[in-house]
C-alpha cells in the first residue's frame, strides 16, 4: 500500500482504487506532437486537441471536479480531488489543458457566481470544452494589481468594457475570461468589480487577442484589448465594488492555498521523455563526463546537487506536514509558502542542471546532442515565469511577512 493510501477513509480508498483501475486502462497514448512543459505554453491546435480529449475523458470518468456538487457538474464527493490528483500523478498522465479554469475560475465562480451561472459554466469548464483565461494584469498594473484601469461603464442592464490586459495566458484558445476591472475610479479597492466574459464569441467584436512571444520563443500568453465590449449584468460575480474580495478567492486558489483542491495531472512532459526534477538532475550528473570522471565527482557540484535534492525533499515533506494539525503553528504559515517554494525550487534544480551540463547546456530543443532534449535550458527559462507570475517571489515574501509574521505592510 502506498504511503498516501494509508489514511484514506473508506470512501477515499474505494475512489482511489477506482481511479487507479480507470487510469490503468484509459491513460492516453503518446502525444502526436511535442508537448510544452506546462499548459501555459500550449501553442498549436494539435497540442490543444490531444490535451482536451484527455481532460474530457478524465472528467467523464469522474476524476475532475470530484468535490464540487453534482448540480454544477461536479462529482459530489468529499475530499477526493486529492486522491484523484495523487493517482493521476502516479500514473504520469499528461497535464490538463484548462489549468486556469480548474485552478482559479472554477472556485471563484463557485463561491461568488449566481446559481444559474454556475450550472451553465462549470460543466464545460471541468470537461475542458471551454478553456478559460485570467484577465488581471495590465501594462500599468502588475504586482499592484488593485491599480487596474480597465473600465466597465453601465448602460441599462448592460456593461460596456474598455481596457488593455497583458500576459493573458491561454487567451488565444479561451472561450471565457475571468476579468478584474474598475467600475468606479474614485476608490482604489472598492472601485473594483469582477466579471466572467465570453471573449471568444466577441473576437473582432470588441475583443482583440494578440500573442506575445515568451523568453523561450514559445507563445502562450497574449495581450487582450477591449473596445466597447458589451456584456450582460448577469456575468458579474458578487456585488458591484466587491471585485477585490472576489479576486482574493482567485489568488488564494491560484497559490494552492484555497479550500477547493485544484485537479492536477501527472508529470508527463514533452513526449513523456524528460522530467526536470532532482531525480533527473542526479541522472544528468551521473552521465555527464567531466575530465576523466563524471560531473557527479566534482565536489562543488555535488554540494549544489545535494542542496537541490534536500530542498525538494523539504518541499514534499512540508506538503505532508501541512496535513497534520499537531505539527502546525499558524494556519496559513505553510499554505502561503507553496507557490514560492515550488517555483524557487524548480529554478534551483534547473540552474544546477545547467551547471552540471556545462558547455552542453548551451544546446536547445532542436539540437540532437542536447542533454535531455534541451529541456534544461527551457526549464530554467520557464522557471522565471513561475517566480514572476501569480504574485512574484518578492510579493510572496511580503505576504508571508505581513499575514503570518504580522510585520508592517510594505504596500
Amino acid at each position: 500500500m502506498s504511503a498516501s493510501a494509508r489514511k484514506d477513509t473508506p470512501e477515499q480508498a474505494e475512489f482511489r482504487q477506482y481511479c487507479r483501475q480507470w487510469l490503468a486502462q484509459h491513460k492516453p497514448g503518446e502525444p502526436p506532437v511535442r508537448l510544452p512543459q506546462s499548459p501555459l505554453e500550449i501553442m498549436t491546435e494539435p497540442q490543444l486537441h490531444y490535451l482536451q480529449a484527455w481532460q474530457k475523458s478524465a472528467y467523464e470518468a469522474g476524476l475532475i471536479g470530484c468535490d464540487y456538487p453534482q448540480e454544477v457538474g461536479g462529482g459530489g464527493r468529499g475530499d477526493c480531488q486529492r486522491i484523484a490528483n495523487q493517482e493521476m500523478i502516479a500514473a504520469r498522465t499528461p497535464f490538463l489543458p484548462n489549468v486556469i479554469g480548474l485552478g482559479m475560475a472554477a472556485p471563484t465562480v463557485f463561491y461568488h457566481g449566481q446559481e444559474e451561472l454556475k450550472r451553465r459554466l462549470l460543466p464545460r469548464l471541468f470537461s475542458g470544452e471551454d478553456i478559460w483565461c485570467q484577465g488581471f494584469s495590465e501594462p500599468g498594473a502588475g504586482s499592484d494589481l488593485a491599480s487596474v484601469q480597465t473600465f466597465a461603464e453601465r448602460r441599462g442592464d448592460k456593461w460596456v468594457i474598455n481596457g488593455h490586459k497583458v500576459w493573458t495566458s491561454l487567451a488565444h484558445f479561451a472561450e471565457w475570461m475571468i476579468l478584474l476591472l474598475r467600475t468606479d475610479r474614485s476608490h482604489k479597492y472598492d472601485g473594483l468589480s469582477y466579471f466572467v466574459v465570453p471573449i471568444r464569441a466577441a473576437l473582432g467584436k470588441g475583443v482583440t487577442v494578440r500573442p506575445l512571444i515568451k523568453i523561450t520563443g514559445e507563445t502562450g500568453f497574449n495581450e487582450v484589448i477591449f473596445e466597447d465590449l458589451e456584456v450582460d449584468d448577469s456575468y458579474r460575480l458578487d456585488e458591484l465594488g466587491k471585485g477585490w474580495q472576489v479576486a482574493m478567492t482567485t489568488l488564494l486558489h491560484e497559490r494552492s492555498a484555497g479550500e477547493l483542491q485544484t485537479p492536477r495531472a501527472g508529470g508527463m512532459k514533452s513526449g513523456a521523455t524528460h522530467d526536470t526534477n532532482s531525480r533527473s538532475l542526479i541522472e544528468l550528473a551521473r552521465t555527464t563526463r567531466r575530465g576523466e570522471g563524471r560531473a557527479a565527482d566534482d565536489p562543488v557540484l555535488r554540494d549544489r546537487i545535494m542542496r537541490a535534492v534536500i530542498r525538494e525533499k523539504a518541499f514534499e515533506q512540508t506538503l505532508r506536514r501541512s496535513r497534520n494539525q499537531a505539527l502546525l503553528d499558524h494556519p496559513m504559515r505553510l499554505p502561503l509558502q507553496n507557490k514560492l517554494l515550488a517555483s524557487e525550487l524548480a529554478q534551483e534544480v534547473a540552474d544546477t542542471a545547467l551547471a552540471v551540463a556545462g558547455a552542453a547546456g548551451s544546446l536547445y530543443l532542436a539540437d540532437d546532442n542536447a542533454p535531455a532534449g534541451g529541456q534544461w535550458p527551457m526549464a530554467y527559462m520557464n522557471s522565471f515565469g513561475m517566480t514572476i507570475a501569480a504574485g512574484t517571489s518578492e510579493v510572496q515574501r511580503n505576504i508571508l511577512g505581513e499575514r503570518v509574521l504580522g510585520m508592517s505592510k510594505s504596500k
Partner: protein
C-alpha cells in the same frame, strides 16, 4: 516499509510537546536563564557548568530521560517523532541540561544488544550520560576516537564531550585488539578526569575527558555497527533542538521588528528586514518537515533513516547560522550587547551548527549515498 502519512505524530506526542513547552517556560523563562548562565561576561572566563540540577531531577521524574529506552529494556519506547517534539521545546528554551547526551547514549546502547542491558537500566534509573567518541580534531565521523582499551581498562583522551560536567556516565568508543568497542564508564571512576573547555556557548558545557587505566564495561565489540544505527536519531534530535531555537530567534526578532521604529516605520516595513526574516521562517519549516520525516524513518523505515537524517541536519546546521546572524543583525546595537538575550541563542546555535557535522559534511555524506551507489 512505508511511513505513516501523519509521521506517527499523534495526540500523545502533541501532549508531550505541550507539557515540555510549559515546563521550560514556567521554570526557566529566558530572563531567568540569562541570570543563571550569563553572570560572567569576562571573555577570558574559564569553563563553567551552569544549570538547574533540581529541574533536571524533575525532568527525570517526569520520565523524559527514559522516553527512548525500548520497551523490551524496561523503558517507555516512545517513537522518535515524539521525542523530537520534546527536543524542539528544549531548543526553544535553550535549556541547559544533559538530555540530548542521555538520549544519544540511549540510542547507541539500544543498538548494542544484550550486553548493554545494565547500562540502559542505569539510564532508566535516572543516570545522565553523554557520548565520548570524538578525537582532538573534532572529526565528525562517528568513531574517530583516540581511546584505547586493553584488559578491560580505558586510556587516552576523548574530546568535545558535551555536557560532561553534568553527567554520571560516559559512553566511550575505544580501539580494542579486535576492532572498535563501546564502553560504559562511571564518570566518577578512578582515573577519569573531566577537563572543562572554555566555550562560547553559555547554555552547554563541554570538556575533554582523560582516561588513565579506567575500569569500564564493554557493551559492544562492534562500535561502528551500533553507532551507524544510532546516528540518524542523534542527528535528527540535534536538528530538532536547532529548529526550536531558531523559532525563538525568529519570534523574538519579528517582535522587535514590529515594535522598534526608524524613519517613522516599524523595522519590519523595510523589505531588507522583512524578506530575510521570511526566509528564516521558511528555513525553519523546511527543517521541521525534514526532521519529522527523518524521525519517522527512524521509527518505521530504518533503511532510509541515515539518508533522511543527513538531509535534516544539513538543512538545520545551515539554518542555525542563518537564523543567528539575522537575529543579531536586525536587533542593531542592542543585539550586539551582552544584556540582550539574543546572544544566548546565537551562541547555542553556533555551537550546534558544528556539533555532529555541518551542512557541507552532511551533504557530502548524502552525495555518497545518492551519487556513488548504484541507482
Amino acid at each position: 516499509m512505508a511511513q505513516p502519512n501523519d509521521f506517527g505524530f499523534g495526540e500523545e506526542a502533541a501532549m508531550l510537546k505541550d507539557a515540555a513547552r510549559k515546563f521550560f517556560a514556567d521554570n526557566l523563562p529566558v530572563a531567568a536563564l540569562h541570570q543563571l548562565v550569563a553572570d560572567n561576561h569576562d571573555p577570558d572566563r574559564g569553563p563553567a557548568v551552569a544549570w538547574r540540577e533540581d529541574l533536571w531531577r524533575q525532568m527525570v521524574e517526569l520520565g523524559w530521560t527514559a522516553l527512548a529506552i525500548p520497551e523490551a529494556a524496561g523503558g517507555l519506547g516512545m517513537p522518535l517523532v515524539a521525542v523530537a517534539g520534546l527536543v524542539e521545546e528544549l531548543g526553544r528554551a535553550a535549556f541547559p541540561c544533559p538530555l540530548l547526551g542521555t538520549l544519544n547514549a540511549t540510542f547507541v546502547l539500544a543498538a548494542c544488544g544484550d550486553r548493554a542491558a545494565a547500562a540502559l537500566d542505569d539510564i532508566g534509573a535516572g543516570r545522565a550520560a553523554t557520548l565520548a567518541l570524538t578525537n582532538r580534531d573534532g572529526d565528525w565521523n562517528p568513531a574517530a576516537t583516540e581511546l584505547r582499551a586493553s584488559g578491560g581498562t580505558l586510556s587516552g583522551t576523548a574530546w568535545f564531550v558535551q555536557d560532561a560536567g553534568k553527567v554520571d556516565r560516559l559512553l566511550a568508543a575505544a580501539h580494542t585488539e579486535g576492532g572498535l568497542g563501546l564502553f560504559w564508564v562511571d564518570a566518577g571512576a578512578a582515573g577519569v578526569r573531566v577537563h572543562g573547555d572554555a566555550i562560547v556557548d553559555l547554555t552547554r558545557d563541554q570538556a575533554h575527558v582523560s582516561f588513565d587505566n579506567v575500569e569500564a564495561v564493554e557493551v559492544s565489540a562492534n562500535a561502528l555497527a551500533a553507532l551507524n544505527t544510532a546516528f540518524p536519531a542523534i542527528w535528527t534530535l540535534l536538528a530538532a533542538d536547532i529548529a526550536g531555537a531558531a523559532e525563538w530567534q525568529l519570534q523574538t526578532t519579528v517582535e522587535y521588528a514590529n515594535t522598534r521604529k526608524q524613519f517613522d516605520r516599524p523595522l519590519g516595513f523595510f523589505q531588507a528586514v522583512k524578506h530575510p526574516l521570511v526566509d528564516v521562517m521558511i528555513g525553519i519549516d523546511e527543517v521541521r518537515s525534514l526532521l519529522y520525516n527523518a524521525a519517522c524513518a527512524c521509527d518505521t523505515e530504518p533503511e532510509k533513516a541515515g539518508q533522511y537524517a543527513h538531509m535534516a541536519l544539513a538543512a538545520a546546521s545551515d539554518l542555525a547560522g542563518f537564523a543567528s546572524s539575522r537575529s543579531v543583525q536586525y536587533h542593531g546595537g542592542i543585539g550586539f550587547t551582552w544584556e540582550c538575550f539574543v546572544h544566548l541563542y546565537f551562541k547555542r546555535q553556533k555551537h550546534s551548527q558544528a556539533l555532529w557535522g555541518d551542512g557541507a559534511w552532511h551533504r557530502a555524506r548524502l552525495a555518497e549515498i545518492l551519487l556513488d551507489t548504484a541507482a
